[in-house]
Amino acid sequence: MTTADLLYSDVETDLRASVRDLLNDRCEPASLLARVESDEPYDLELWHTLARELGAAGLAVPEELGGQGASTREVALVLEELGRSVAPVPFLGSAVLATSALLACDTASAEVADLVRKLASGTSTGALAVPLSTMADAEFPTAVTAAADGTLSGTVRSVADGAAADVFVVPATGPDGPGLYAVEATAAEVSAPVSFDLTRPIADVTFGGAAATRLAGSDRAPGAVTGALSTGAGLLASEQLGLAQWCLDETVEYLKGRYQFGRPVGSFQALKHRLADLWLELVGARAAARYAADTLARGDADAPVAVAMAQSYCAETAVHAAEECIQLHGGIGMTWEHPAHLYLKRAKASQVAFGAPGRHRAALGDLVDLPG
């Protein structure tokens, strides 16, 4: 754990600039607000540019499987930028969760490799059919069962990015025990409940005897699901960091320009100190998020500690930042027209994603010999 690289490399910094340019251009708050109440909550054009032209969907996928051959460090960086813009693209569901699960299957099998290639190239979008709130240490999901004929039945609620998916990666239990399956979205019934998070809506997915391709059996499926959720938790920390950074930056700028009592409100110590504390929290969050991304990239033995720490810490930081953003903006922060609420909704929903902070702390306590 002494060898962790906690900085951003030059390549990562260039990648950040490309993603940020794209998002500044195509994901500005006014159009985002218009989109969230439209019939197309996802910006699939933006997603395709990001996935296909910038190659972001296949960053952590080996080159021989059609990816960029980079690592979770670069994926984390993209998530920072997506969090900064609360961009409505299915990156977490497809490029992180579904792709991680697939990479833990036998990639020598044609079905797996083919699907990895499609997701990595952005020609197809995936989603992992588990509730977003599932924690990595949970029992293998039982919501979907596989029949002897290989079809799947059951309903999975609250699937992240499910509405944008072309294909679902589905954990299901069959006669041979746990397995991981691929189901075309056209073979499933996908409904969109009213989502608390407007920029990453959830979907309820029902499989009624849906035709499926088996990707992994009981030897690999549980580990693939656990690994994907753990990677998701560790990398979501970077999205939360990026979200928090936007909230801090936006609030600082607002307080410099907002005058009350004849002076910029940002000159009042009561407000400055709150922002200084928030800035400091982000210093810790950045170190924790980078550590998680780096240990995951290297398969370091300390990765479980890093993930539990980063997710518990950064989830709270993001919520705190979004709440401070609303409060310190005053009345304008409470309006629909100001984008701050999109960040609060994302932050709060992300706090329970992959398990709420208290659950990650319990896991962390077990990992570092602080028993309950």
Binding site: M1, A4, D5, L6, L7, V252, L255, K256, R263, P264, G266, S267, F268, Q269, K272, H273, L275, A276, D277, W279, L280, V283, G284, A285, R286, A287, A288, R290, Y291, A308, M309, S312, Y313, G358, R361, A362, L364, G365, V368, D369, L370, P371, G372
Partner: protein
């Protein structure tokens, strides 16, 4: 690249260390004689100039030298005992002292033969250091000083002090100060222990009554004391929170140890708070590593401003939690008798002491409130509070 960087890589320094060790076997050489020889070989602080304990070498090579001497079992200068001299007085003397002063003062400072203390804070000048009132008045061959200083570590063992005084009360406060080196052993200096809430007295009050300072012991111009003091204070903040720590180093390790040793005291609520603080301590430990990695590649980040603030906040919460974990044992304290510890140890003694001592962490070396102002104004660029004291003569300030 400068000549010095070319001539001193790690290998050249190792060879130089070997020469010192060969000529002065640590096993048979008197401690002080050894330290003087190390100083004279330029291996005390390699980034200092030649002839003043250094070699004009890059500062980061110091760790190579320290490791070589430690591996050979050589004595060190007990840096924790003389931290104020090493961390604050030395860089200031180096930057502002005359050649004669540097030659006279730096060697015994580094070897620890002469202990240094810092006479900055006063009862009426804490966070607002520039309000200080200790007066230095010109005499024919020097200065006569009267006033009171406070929170002075090591004053009772010090031969020398760095001192900031008011020399011109008629100009705004930042412009009327002058910085000196003061001989602490003279009759005009009275040191009294300052007892703290822990019961012990790490610090002192220092009363200066017609204390005398030759003009040759002035650092910087008359009236430039504030600028000179900034050098000292910047070096102080570099020193705090800059060190690498292992996981569970410091306060968090103490509380974790208590938790592991006392299973009968565990509750779910205490555990959640403990793990939360463990994660915070670890996040800021990693942030410290990150800061050092940035420095190593020549990209210093603003994170340094926050490290001391984070350290204080986390340490205080951990120490407070430990007492709650300890339940009935929290009702006891090891002893209240007035003691004079030679070294400050934030995590020493028992949990009650740690709790009380940690209260000082957010006050000493810049209060957490001042640090928040610094972060808000210098890192985030927020406007400063309106000031009413900047253009007023010091003597006319309300007090």
């Amino acid at each position: 690249m400068t000549t010095s960087e070319k001539s001193f890589d790690a290998e050249a320094l190792r060879a130089r260390v070997a020469d010192v060790l060969a000529a002065h076997d640590p096993a048979t050489t008197d401690r002080l004689a050894f330290l003087r020889a190390r100083f004279d070989a330029g291996l005390a602080w390699v980034h200092f100039p030649v002839g003043l304990g250094g070699l004009d070498a890059p500062r980061e090579l110091q760790s190579v030298v320290d490791a070589e001497f430690a591996a050979a079992g050589a004595p060190d200068n007990n840096p924790r005992r003389i931290g104020i001299g090493l961390g604050m007085a030395a860089p200031t003397i180096l930057k502002f002292g005359s050649e004669e002063l540097k030659q006279r003062l730096l060697r015994p400072l580094w070897t620890g033969e002469e202990v240094w203390c810092q006479l900055f804070s006063e009862p009426g000048a804490g966070s607002d250091l520039a309000a200080l009132a200790t007066r230095a008045v010109r005499d024919e061959d020097g200065w006569i000083v009267n006033g009171q200083k406070v929170w002075t570590s090591s004053a009772h063992t010090a031969q020398w002090a760095i001192l900031v005084t008011r020399t011109d009360p008629d100009v705004p406060k930042h412009r009327g100060m002058t910085y000196f080196v003061l001989d602490m052993t003279q009759p005009g200096v009275e040191v009294r222990p300052l007892r703290q809430i822990t019961g012990e007295a790490e610090f002192n009050e220092v009363f200066l009554t017609d204390a005398r300072i030759p003009d040759a012991q002035r650092l910087g111009e008359v009236g430039a004391g504030w600028q000179v003091a900034q050098t000292t204070l910047m070096n102080e903040r570099v020193a705090i929170g800059g060190n690498a720590q292992p996981r569970e180093g410091g306060m968090v390790g103490k509380v974790a140890e208590t938790w592991r040793d006392r299973p009968e005291l565990r509750t779910p609520e205490l555990r959640d708070r403990l793990v939360k603080l463990w994660a915070e301590a670890e996040a800021f430990r990693l942030a410290g590593s990150r800061l050092r990695q940035q420095l190593a590649v020549g990209q210093p980040g603003p994170e340094g401003s926050g490290m001391k603030l984070a350290f204080a906040t986390v340490a205080q919460q951990l120490a407070a939690l430990e007492l709650e974990i300890l339940d009935e044992d929290a009702l006891r304290y090891d002893e209240w008798s007035m003691r004079r510890p030679e070294l400050v140890d934030f995590t020493g003694r028992d949990a009650g002491y740690r709790y009380l001592r940690s209260k000082g962490n957010s006050i000493e070396g810049g209060t957490s409130e001042v640090l928040r102002n610094i972060i808000a104004e210098r890192v985030l660029g927020l406007p400063s509070e309106p000031r009413t004291d900047k253009d007023v003569a010091w003597k006319d300030l309300p007090r």
